[in-house]
């Protein structure tokens, strides 16, 4: 019924119509049922034998109890505008242009479509929404009355002072002009330790979007410390790894590979470079039938002779 056509993989070489060849019985339905039963049994057995990983999510309360100094440093950083999210750029804010792929400012072109003001949304709003406290009320009033430069100076100085003491312990910080920031950061920690900070950041009964909570958690070092301890860092093949011995997204190996190259993984535009490199490979595979040279690889490396060995064996006597 179909006829032969010229093969794009063989230049002008002719590929015969498959329907013109001699046939043999082939039971597709039987193949489907047998394969289905075998794979279903294999799946059920693997699930029973190895199960699946389910480590509880880290709550902001967990974080505050396990690493209180990290919470104080992160809250201070949000107020100073020195955290990752505060200086991120699109899609959260205009603090920077973000990453570029060569001359292409793709991140900037995406636009600020998920606006997040790190100081206001991640720290001040929860503080203002929490249980009223006299010292916190005064601190917030002082903060609000100050101009932006003063606010930044207080928070930056306090952040530097925290970084200068062992473990970032607020109790060890040298005296200085930090304005209301120590009280605000301390109150933020208390709020986080009491639980419910997630809800104060996004007061929606149904939850759902966790952008602000995850940005805050990511701005601290605790989440990354936990991930790296499980070999999930980007330079640990973490994109395709899973904690423990569970299989992860192995199919992302091609992307993960690029992060292991220091020139890419350590670049300020590393993520964009990885996406660019991966896009080139994916496009190469998508349009492989039309790429001279690449489409001829299977002819040069005769794996096909193994696949069709019965056919070629039958053809030999005729030759």
């Amino acid at each position: 019924m179909t006829t032969s056509s010229t093969s794009p993989g063989h230049g002008k070489r002719h590929t015969p119509d498959s329907h013109s060849f001699p046939t043999r019985p082939y039971d597709l339905v039987k193949e489907m049922v047998v394969a289905g039963v075998i794979l279903l049994l294999a799946t059920l057995a693997l699930a029973a034998a190895f199960g699946s990983l389910d480590e509880k999510a880290i709550t902001l309360q967990d974080w505050a109890k396990a690493a209180p100094n990290d919470v104080v440093a992160t809250a201070t950083g949000e107020l100073a505008g020195t955290t990752d999210s505060a200086g991120y750029g699109p899609p959260y804010n205009n603090a920077s242009d973000g990453q570029k792929l060569g001359p292409l400012a793709l991140q900037k072109w995406g636009g600020v479509r998920i606006p997040v003001n790190s100081a206001q949304d991640l720290v001040l709003t929860p503080l203002q929404s929490g249980t009223p406290d006299a010292s916190l009320t005064d601190a917030l009033a002082t903060w609000k009355a100050a101009n932006a430069d003063q606010q930044t100076a207080w928070a930056t100085d306090y952040g530097d002072a925290l970084a200068a003491v062992p473990d970032g312990n607020p109790a060890s910080v040298a005296g200085g002009d930090y304005g209301p920031v120590p009280v605000m950061a301390s109150s933020f920690l208390t709020l986080a330790q009491s639980g419910g900070l997630e809800q104060l950041m996004s007061p929606n009964f149904y939850g759902g979007d966790r952008t602000k909570q995850l940005l805050l958690l990511s701005d601290g070092s605790y989440l990354e410390d936990q991930a790296r301890a499980r070999s999930l860092g980007g330079d640990q093949w973490g994109m395709m790894n899973e904690a423990g011995n569970y299989p992860g997204q192995v199919w992302l190996g091609m992307m993960t590979f690029w992060y292991q190259i220091p020139a890419i993984g350590d670049s300020d535009n590393g993520d964009a470079l990885v996406w660019g490199a991966t896009a080139v490979i994916v496009l190469g595979f998508l349009f492989l039938p039309f790429i001279p040279g690449a489409r001829a690889i299977p002819e040069k490396i005769p794996v096909y002779k193994l696949i069709w060995r019965d056919y070629y064996r039958r053809q030999k006597p005729k030759a």
Binding site: T2, G9, T23, L39, Y88, L106, I114, L232, A272
Partner: protein
């Protein structure tokens, strides 16, 4: 080239070599019926015979990919009935999640073998380039489905993957349109949008396979009767 190849549709109202009239110029319904009934040659939708050269275990992996996709969807449907957090608190739910995880791992494993098998067969020959491309698109859609599944776990894993993935997506502007830190979006894409996309592309891929038949061996000559 026959009507089945799609490059030489008979004149309107004419009778095809198979004996059925070709679509008229004015009737969309007739055109649709003609396309539906003639896209795949008669008898090739579910043939009980294949070309004699179809004799290798590598051919099984196409079917294995299809049936493993069915297991993935089936276990996912059960998980969806329990709700997104059911598997954290129920041992039955946890087992169903494990079945879903391992079915996905098997699905990708057999699909990778299928893909590499087709690569070494240069299976895009003979007008089959669209068959290859739809297979690759199905793989990409499946990767997206798997990724959104990992984001939908509502556990530590999902937190870390979301925190890391946002940087990659944002770096090329995609984060403005898909927020990896919103598990509600991820779940919706994972259980509705992307499975529909994978299903549609896989159906198109299978139709193309049945339409063109299994690619003949490299350097095969036209059989003489």
């Amino acid at each position: 080239m026959s009507a089945v190849e799609g490059t030489a549709t008979p004149a309107p109202g004419a009778t095809t070599p198979e004996g059925s009239p070709s679509p008229t110029r004015t009737s969309w319904t007739a055109w649709a019926r003609y396309r539906i009934t003639h896209t795949v040659p008669q008898g090739q939708w579910l043939p009980d015979r294949q070309p004699a050269y179809v004799a290798s275990w590598i051919y099984v992996f196409g079917m294995a990919t299809l049936v493993s996709l069915v297991i993935v969807i089936g276990s996912g449907v059960v998980l969806a009935l329990g709700g997104s957090e059911w598997w954290h608190t129920s041992s039955v739910g946890h087992y169903v999640n494990s079945v879903h995880l391992w079915s996905v791992e098997i699905f990708f494993a057999v699909m990778a073998i299928h893909l590499w098998g087709k690569f070494w067969m240069a299976a895009w020959r003979g007008g089959r380039s669209l068959t290859w491309t739809t297979g690759m698109i199905a793989l990409l859609a499946a990767v997206g489905t798997g990724f959104t599944g990992y984001l939908s776990q509502t556990n530590f894993d999902a937190q870390w993957i979301g925190a890391q993935a946002k940087d990659g997506l944002n770096s090329v502007g995609l984060g403005a349109w898909f927020n990896a830190l919103n598990p509600a979006t991820a779940l919706t894409l994972h259980i509705i949008v992307l499975p529909l996309a994978v299903g549609a592309i896989v159906i198109m891929h299978v139709i193309l396979v049945r339409r063109h038949g299994v690619v003949p061996p490299i350097d095969a000559e036209e059989p003489t009767s």
